[in-house]
Subunit: 230 residues, 2 copies
DNA sequence: TAATATTCGTGAATGAATTCACGACGTGCC
DNA sequence: GGCACGTCGTGAATTCATTCACGAATATTA
């Protein structure tokens, strides 16, 4: 049994991110830079150096420069980066310069919290459909959004042009919810259930496992380790 | 006759960690193994091989073995790992074989959701104090827990032996909440505010940034990248 | 018991990410 | 202009993480 990783995407070879493979860490840091730049802009800074940015977010100047260099040359030697313009550029790279329609599966505790989560809205992620399979919830109004039957997900996805689905159902129901979303053609899923979901090639899945983070804390407390900052 | 060099007589079988630096990724995977083992135990497996575990969680067998080897030799050659015992061992390493008292700052949407989050309770993380600075909320009862004034945090931490604090307040108030917790002697903080908090040495901070995860999705959609599984 | 099949544990090899170090370029001052 | 200084952009060096590969130990079967 040859279990070497098959490169089975031979069919439609997409123009994968033109240049090089960008590491996950780099993308995460872009989010960090983006937030920092928003703050710096508010504080009135017109330019910012890699050193400033690094100190502010506890990174190294070299890393900031290297990360940004994957996407272009945005800085001016001797001066730094233009705050506002860099923010705009990063927004375009991350895709937060547009509005994304988000569908939420699960109208429970976490789901409800996400509907009101300001940070999502601020970045252009708009939840405009909620799905559940509980007949008592279906039809009721939640923060201005009527809760739909999950059976109607495919139809709603099409009607509302939903591009991202957030799964906030119990672990036992998560895979099924995921399958429904995939079946409807969704290519990006954010999962809050503490379980490893299976998705086909071509679908991006991110799992937000809150239990994992708190277990990390319990590990450091238990082992009296020197803490590792985020 | 021992052909291989005998283990250096010094640290032959030390169960204690701290020798080598354990990487963050390894700790995260321990959480994954722990959850997988719980499931496998429920499914009736008495033993599990690194291969099984790896396939189940989309990792490699070598990585599973390497991760576990940092903490000891738990397996039996030719057979695999004893499911139940390994689970117990990992629980001890992660510190989820005990109850942790958790204080929650912020009785808003996210805070409320966390109080009801089953996975926390299941792993022994018990929220037994809630703090807020909104006078209208203070004194009211939330799922059986009376909401306290954040001014009383230090006293409650002592009284209830709280070891972990979860911050679920708006970004603008997060650093202040964090400072109060640190001042009260808390050594482990889980932060849900989308901001980089400053903590002194000796305090472990983990930040759960949900916006960052959804931005990752928007990045992949924007750049038509090949998805990277969680 | 002996022969074969599994699977662990781990040093070595490889690969990936981070940091270093320096040339190039721009600013600001005299 | 000329000089001193600051900062970017990036190949090279380094550090860190993952995977390979194989000996040792155990299970299984005949």
């Amino acid at each position: 049994m040859n279990s070497r990783r098959a490169k089975s995407d031979g069919d439609g070879d997409r123009p994968v991110i033109s240049r090089r493979r960008i590491s996950e860490s780099t993308i995460r840091r872009l989010s960090i830079y983006y937030r920092a730049l928003s703050a710096l802009e508010g504080e009135g800074y017109h330019t910012v150096s890699s050193k400033d940015l690094a100190r502010r977010e506890k990174l190294t100047p070299a890393q900031v420069r290297k990360d940004l260099s994957f996407f272009g040359s945005f800085g001016t030697r001797g001066l730094g980066y233009p705050t506002k313009e860099l923010k705009t550029r990063i927004a375009a790279i991350l895709g937060v310069d547009q509005t994304w329609n988000v569908g939420l599966i699960g109208a429970g505790n976490i789901g409800s919290a996400l509907v009101s989560y300001k940070e999502f809205q601020k970045q252009g992620f708009v939840i405009n459909a909620i799905f559940d399979n509980d007949q008592r919830k279906i039809g009721s109004n939640h923060k201005g959004i009527v809760i739909s039957d999950i059976k109607d997900l495919a139809a709603e996805v099409k009607k509302r042009n939903i591009q991202i689905v957030v799964i906030a159902v119990p672990a036992a129901a998560a895979q099924q919810a995921c399958d429904v979303a995939v079946e409807a053609g969704i290519k990006a899923i954010l999962n809050f259930a503490p379980i490893n979901l299976k998705v086909p090639n071509g679908v991006t899945l991110r799992t937000e496992n809150m239990a994992m983070e708190i277990e990390y804390l319990s590990f450091t407390l238990t082992n009296h380790m020197r803490p590792i900052p985020t």
